[in-house]
Symmetry: C2
């Protein structure tokens, strides 16, 4: 597998993503944008990109903040993520440039692209979908589902939401509001709610943060990844 740091731009901001693909494979193939948690582009999202490359996809883990910034604390993450999403046009643009970078690679089949994301990363994917990006699908893992700008027109992407039933950051009412938004927009959507599952359930480091809202859940992690794989087989067929 080939992995490398890739630079791309959002206006004046230089972003440093992480590309992974199977260099022994020839020809264009489906591509997946991976957007990370609010802590920035770290080991978890990079590992997911590698796992997607092992599955045969071109994967780019995107950089949300610039310079590949990784934050040390949840407090910093909340501050920076809040700042980024305060202007939704800018947040969408930050995801869009990553998507376009991924689309530009010679290995990428631009007609078969998807976005996945963890926590804030999934919110990026949903904003791309709401913005009408030419995605086949969006998969989120413990992501916020709210938006300042609900989907208006047709959503191209099929949507698969993986959410923890015990995630206080994504309560049932938020899921319901999202379902209503997607239904109104005529989107193809599915929500999977995992019982006994908290925020950050895919992140093995979640428990070490020491916040009761966060918790790794191996079973939900494995189930949601499996269902994502099956979803990709469907949408990329």
């Amino acid at each position: 597998m080939k992995t490398e740091t890739i630079e791309y731009k959002d206006g004046d901001v230089t972003l440093r993503g992480y590309l992974a693909f199977d260099e022994k494979k020839s020809g264009k193939r489906p591509a997946v944008l991976v957007m990370p948690e609010a802590l920035g582009l770290g080991a978890q999202a990079k590992k997911r990109a590698e796992r997607l490359a092992e599955l045969g996809y071109v994967a780019l883990a995107g950089d949300p903040y610039g310079d590949g910034l990784e934050l040390a604390t949840v407090e910093e993450a909340i501050q920076l993520a809040g700042k980024l999403f305060a202007d939704l046009t800018k947040a969408r643009q930050r995801a869009r440039v990553a998507f376009e970078k991924l689309a530009s690679f010679p290995q990428t089949d631009p007609s078969r692209m998807a976005a996945i994301g963890f926590c804030m990363g999934g919110t990026f994917g949903l904003e791309l979908a709401r913005d009408g990006a030419p995605l086949k699908g969006v998969v989120t893992f413990h992501s916020g589902l709210q938006t300042q700008r609900p989907a208006a027109g047709k959503i191209n992407a099929k949507i698969l939401i993986n959410t923890g039933a015990d995630d206080p950051l994504v309560p049932f009412d938020q899921v319901k509001a999202f379902a209503d938004e997607m239904t109104k927009a005529g989107a193809d959507w599915q929500v999977i709610s995992y019982g006994g599952t908290k925020h950050s359930f895919t992140n093995p480091d979640a428990d070490s943060v020491g916040m009761p809202a966060l918790g790794y859940n191996k079973l939900a992690d494995e189930r949601s990844w499996r269902v994502m794989k099956s979803f990709f087989e469907e949408i990329f067929a």
Copy 2:
């Protein structure tokens, strides 16, 4: 594949189930009870039993009413189903005898059993789980999730709910109440909500009934069956 009508008893009532298994396969294997919609044991549930047999399982489609009764109208179904579930002890017993019949076959590995059900059939499966039946899993498709007797003790079965977001018979509040019940009981549960999907979404004949609440949905049908297969691979591993 071998299929045959199997008689079993619930007190004085003679039930006529439909057994399917691969007779070319030797040895004990996981077994799946299939409980049908409120119209009784008809072609749809029998076909599902056959599809499960093709997957390598022993499958018994259970008879909810006796004598393999099939009803012609939804009105009759509502009446008979209502009568059956008015006494929950009796309803649970009706499912339990089918489960025990399936457990008794020489091909069945009684330590690896599951129940699936469509509409009322899934409710049967959930009642077996609430009753502590030794099931590895229960999968429901557009089933009512309410009960007169919420789960008290430990639920053995892992629970997978497939529900249509536009199913007026299983509204969001009912899903929420079920989630709370299962969480309180400490169950391993997942709920998948399919957007743009009505009641009876797995039944190709649903539209011909002429009720706006009902509708076949090929995509949700295929997705829910696929996720069930993956779930079985997990729980029977």
